[in-house]
């Protein structure tokens, strides 16, 4: 059991029609660390993340969460597990028909018996954590994409999860807000005892700034994994090309 971390994906395979997305992916998320998953667009990063929360089921392979095999688990078991995982989706995935307050308090309303006044306080608090003013009454279509993502992040934090998954938290944000989100991810990671975070990102600066561990996905597998230092000093052509975002290298299409 000791070699299995909070999340272990073993020899994961997933195919959509003819599109082989995951081709034997092995990924062991280091416990209590801030890990990054990087890779080209369409490499299956979001698909990998959806396997961690059981929204997609593997064609083959194993998913272990907290030392428990989940690949054959039923929905009830998954629902229990998911309450301890906070997920920020790529576009925020806020509910259009609910205002910001109801969006952020959605997990609280569904899983706890908190009073309304306490909930209001909690939502205000969550909003200030992600650097937003009191916009409880606004509806998602009135918000900018950056604001929507931050509301999504507040919602992911609402149940004080042990594992946080971020799908491209800083994409489509201005550099200042991106920096704020990076700091937020780092702070959340450091402030909350025993927190494990996994961030999917294209943003090589934030990877180098805050990552403690990096997984580089390529052709449905983990092509490279290690600390940022190891990543930087790697002699591998593909890794070097990804780091510089350059046109020259084994990858035909430029990355980022």
């Amino acid at each position: 059991m000791s070699e299995k971390g909070l999340v272990s994906l073993i020899n994961l395979r997933k195919t959509f029609g003819k599109n082989k997305v995951l081709r034997g992916l092995d990924l062991n998320v280091p416990n209590k660390k801030l890990s990054f998953i990087i890779g080209r667009s369409g490499e299956g990063k979001s698909v990998t993340l959806k396997h961690i929360i059981g929204i997609l089921k593997p064609d083959e392979g194993e998913v272990w969460i907290n030392g428990v095999p989940m690949h054959n688990a039923d929905e009830r078991a998954w629902e229990k597990i998911r309450q301890q995982i906070g997920t920020l989706f790529q576009d925020g995935a806020l509910f259009d028909s609910l205002n910001v307050f109801d969006n952020i308090s959605f997990p609280i309303q569904n899983h706890t018996k908190m009073s309304l006044s306490k909930m209001k306080e909690e939502v205000k608090n969550l909003l200030s954590i992600v650097g937003l003013p009191s916009i409880e009454e606004k509806f998602p279509p009135e918000l900018s994409i950056g604001e929507r993502k931050r509301v999504g992040l507040a919602r992911a934090l609402a149940l004080k999860p042990k594992l946080l998954l971020y799908d491209e938290p800083t994409t489509s944000m201005d550099p200042l807000v991106a920096d704020l989100i990076d700091n937020l991810i780092l702070n959340t990671q450091q402030k909350l005892e025993g927190m494990t975070s996994v961030v999917i990102s294209h943003d090589i600066t934030s990877v180098m700034n805050i990552a403690e561990y990096i997984f580089f996905l390529h052709e449905g597998k983990v092509y490279f994994e290690g600390t940022p230092e190891a990543f930087c000093s790697s002699k591998d052509e593909l890794v070097k090309q990804f780091l510089t975002g350059g046109r020259n290298g084994p990858l035909a299409v430029p990355i980022v």
């Binding site: 959806k50 929360i53 929204i55 929905e75 998954w78 629902e79 229990k80 597990i81 998911r82 309450q83 995982i85 997920t87 989706f89 790529q90 576009d91 995935a93 806020l94 509910f95 259009d96 028909s97 959605f106 997990p107 569904n110 899983h111 919602r155 149940l159």
Partner: protein, 259 residues
Amino acid sequence: MKKIFLLIEFLGNIVLSTLGGLGRFILFLREVLRWTISPPFRIGLIFKQLEFVGNKSSLIIFIAAFFVGAVLGLQLGVIFRLFSAEGLMGAATGKSLALELGPVMCGFIVIGRAGAAMAAEIATMRVNEQIDAIEAMGVNPVSYLVVPRVIASVIMMPILAGIFLFVGVVGCYIVAIFYYRVDTMVFFQQLQWIVWWSDVVKGLVKATFFGFIFATIACYKGFNAKGGAKGVGEATTRAVVVGLLSILVGDFIITLFQI
């Protein structure tokens, strides 16, 4: 020879995919029923959907019912007049409204309004990853999105069909009184004589089934939408078309049991 094989393969594929689709729909139905009888029971959401289904369709139902009743009265009056039995037109209109036209027309209208909106809303939530997000927060999306809509439709449809019947009879009554000069007493005596309470109940039972049919189909189509805004449009169209046809087929089957 080769062409025949190709044809067989083609037809076989159609049969297989139809059966596969049916199988998936039955699994979906099972899930809906399971979450209908197991907690959490989302009373607030059910009321929200009741209001939605009712509000969306009630005005159209009033107008449609009035004119359907009036037109039926006009047409039947022509025939009944031949036998000097204009007094029976209310009864004939009432019977057909109660047994068939009320529930079926109501079903069509509600599909076009509420059913299409349900399919579009759920499909949008699917393609924008909102359903994934619901699931990711440990909430079952069938329980949260589908069950309240199905329950609300099942409750609301017989109410709307009842309104349709009542307004339709009023429409017919006005034609009878002002156009055919039928006596009010005669109109209602004949109505009571021909239209039994059991007819009304049969019609409302039909409407209840129709509510279940259109809501599950609309939610199912929305739930399985894929591929952006185009997918939302496709899901909505399919929900309406399949819903309409299913109501007609369902009507035939239920009627077989009722007569």
